[in-house]
């Protein structure tokens, strides 16, 4: 094995190991920038959108109840997690306090709706209602994003 090639291969191994340790290191939480708040609300919108697809399947009786239940549970947990994350963090820009409050409220709404879907995954009427309310929640989330973008310098 030639020296230089051995060296580059060894460097590649270090490149694998060191950043791997960094990647697994816990990320610091606490400070929430405008961008991160934005990101959080966008993910809420995405969760609501996906929830509507699942609820829609229930509403049309075009899905399996175990699937709908498991998906509703997973998505609901993610919404709940997002709610807690947004509520716990300290804001970098205090002017966004209203938006953060609204975001936490929407997150809670979404989590609640998905929890209902989880409880009644076979009920078509419930599915249709959840789908409708999730659409409204998504609109609220999108409105918050628009406000945040408007506020951004």
């Amino acid at each position: 094995m030639s020296g230089p090639r051995e060296k580059t291969l060894r460097l590649r191994v270090l490149a694998l190991l060191l950043p791997a340790a960094l990647a697994f290191a816990p990320t610091g939480c606490g400070e929430l920038s405008n961008d991160e708040l934005n990101r959080g609300v966008e993910s809420l919108s995405a969760l609501a959108a996906q929830g509507q697809l699942v609820a829609g399947g229930v509403a049309r009786d075009a899905t399996k109840t175990t699937y709908a239940r498991a998906m509703a549970r997973t998505l609901g947990e993610e919404a709940q997690h997002e709610a807690e994350k947004l509520a716990d963090a300290t804001l970098e820009e205090p002017e966004t306090a209203d938006q953060r409050h609204a975001a936490v409220a929407v997150a809670g709404e979404i989590a609640g709706l998905l929890s209902e879907l989880q409880t009644f995954p076979g009920d078509e009427r419930h599915g249709a209602l959840v789908q409708k309310h999730l659409a409204e929640a998504q609109e609220k989330a999108d409105a918050i994003v628009a406000q945040l973008s408007g506020d951004a310098p």
């Binding site: 060894r10 694998l16 919108s45 996906q50 699942v54 699937y67 498991a70 997973t74």
Partner: protein, 406 residues
Amino acid sequence: MRAIFKIALGIIAAIGGFLDIGDLVFTTQAGALFRYDLLWAVVLGVVGIAVYAEMSGRVAAVSGRPVFDVIRMRLGFGMGLVALVASTFVNLLTLAAELGGIAIVLELLFDAPYSMFVVTGAVALVGIVALLPFGGIERFFGYGGLLLLVVVATVYHQDPNWGDVAHGFVPTLDSSALYLYFVVGVFAAALMPYEVHFYSSGAIEEGWSEQNLKENRLNAIVGYGIGGILSVALVIASGYLFHPLGVEPNDLGTVALPMQGAFGETGLLLALGGMLFCVGGAAIDSSFAASYNLAQFLGWEWGRYQGPRRAPRFTASWLVFLLLGIAIAQSGINPVEITEYSVVFSVVALPLTYLPVLLIAGDRSFMADYANGRVATTLGWLYFGVIVVLAAAAIPLLLVTNAGGG
């Protein structure tokens, strides 16, 4: 006509589950985030694994050397050991992700907790391996994986804008870190080395010789071609449904939503069934790859056909890897997250296991008349270049994009 059918079945059996959890996750995410723009990266990865697999299969058939024999011979003990450790680490992560994936799909189909399904799934895999012959195992998962053809049917049903789809096959390089991360991810998910290590060892288990070279080439082109078609279909199906809605697929169950949308409960069940077979086959392939690599590097007796009596260390190592995989899958880390890391680390380690095979495949003193011709040489070195670039970019992109979280 019968001959073609027989060949097709053989190919399907040889590839045994075209996609794994990495492909399912990255293609669906790529479609949702970038619609059809990453289709070129999927094709690039699929052609890459076909090239790597063809070379490895040819080397195994002509010289009787599986991948880690070639690696120890070409890199020597020291660097070979590095390759082994890196490869084993990646295979373990992959195995854990696949075992977790099996449990998630079972959870979506049946009402019982995830942790129970991890153990049940692993026990079922051990049973399948113990009871079925080697070829039977691959047939079982290969045919089952074909259930995913429902994704192709879904795309047909969706009838997307084909002009936009075609545009996605043209390579474009967006400067956004997230886009580049997914270029790496989609490529790496298609080019997972454990598949090739498994394939090359399987060739020797089946007693391949020069007579199998045509079969080897067909397996590489048609077998991975089918995998490519399925991957492309997943990107399109996901892009069509999720991109306009802004859905972010962070869960394995999301992969099946487009099929539910197109064909209701039937589509959903076919999709989940296909996913189960693909991920199950991948769990077997990755666990065996880990044992094959270890045994081959150290010179132990190895092989599924040898059985536990003639290859006890190989068998014991396989069980140990399975147990470790179960432990990691049970640790509470989301399998989808484990997948992200296993795919990214896999491409970082890829140059180490790819280069020796490329060198031996082109070496006339080992391969005689069957050494790389002009096409294989060109493609082989071209892909080495691509792999090195992506390997260097992978971890920085992983960190910058927070594993695709944005």
